[in-house]
Symmetry: C2
Amino acid sequence: MNTAAATSTAELTLHPIGHVIASDESQTYLVVIDEPYRAALRGLDQFSHVTIVWWATECDTPEARNHLVTDLPYAPGVEVGVFACRSEYRPNPIAFTTMPVFEVDVDAGTVVLPWIDAFDGTPVLDLKPYIPVADRIRDVSMPEWLSDWPLWMEDAGAYFAEHSTDFGD
Amino acid sequence: MNTAAATSTAELTLHPIGHVIASDESQTYLVVIDEPYRAALRGLDQFSHVTIVWWATECDTPEARNHLVTDLPYAPGVEVGVFACRSEYRPNPIAFTTMPVFEVDVDAGTVVLPWIDAFDGTPVLDLKPYIPVADRIRDVSMPEWLSDWPLWMEDAGAYFAEHSTDFGD
């Protein structure tokens, strides 16, 4: 087991494969995959949920990438590392969002979603189907500062609507 | 909503933040975070599970990145797009693995895991805590070709041990 050899500072290169369309005005939320990659969508419509892997462009600055410890807007006084929260400030500003798949059109390259927490125009890097055996944890625990949060994504909307004032919105 | 402006071919740059240590011989599986990023681990020990975002180095070739449709070793005769499976062949070879967090040592930069499906030395890009409200889906459905798979990650080991011969292992 050679641990030293693996430490690398080499840069890796990503190519956006599409982008997010997010319009609160028209309540339209989708991913559009660029033409060369559309064949990769085949079969995604058979899954109930997809994880969209996207690039937090606004956090792709040296300052944001070095912002390693952060305050939590939902937990006053708690400061944690960015690997212990889902902040978009991180050394590599990769974000992901799991959402229901409403509709997939392979030819048009579109994946229609109910919503997405990414800005209009956000670069998309990958799509992965939600597969319970890999992604769905039965016995889960969370820190004290998240202990009131719901245990299912389906309950997120109602919870955050009820508690929106707690988070300074 | 300006959809055209967002289509981008710009390259984005990742920096590995650490690497995987995976030794079947010694049954040792961990992530080692490079020194400059270790502060970001603060608080991760409060979560039961973490998602390790890693780079499938062996699939970082033009050929592998253009391999958009693939056979499924576990579903003979089914050919799907790489956005409908978790193959490491994908336009951006970003992979992720969700695992229990056994131990976090912020100073040493280590996150000990029970196992990981990545090779020794694999570059690590990010760590994200598993947060049920974002990641845990109550009502999920899968394609027919996965319909026998367990609905919980905790049942993966027993299932794949029992069915290993089905997958040509």
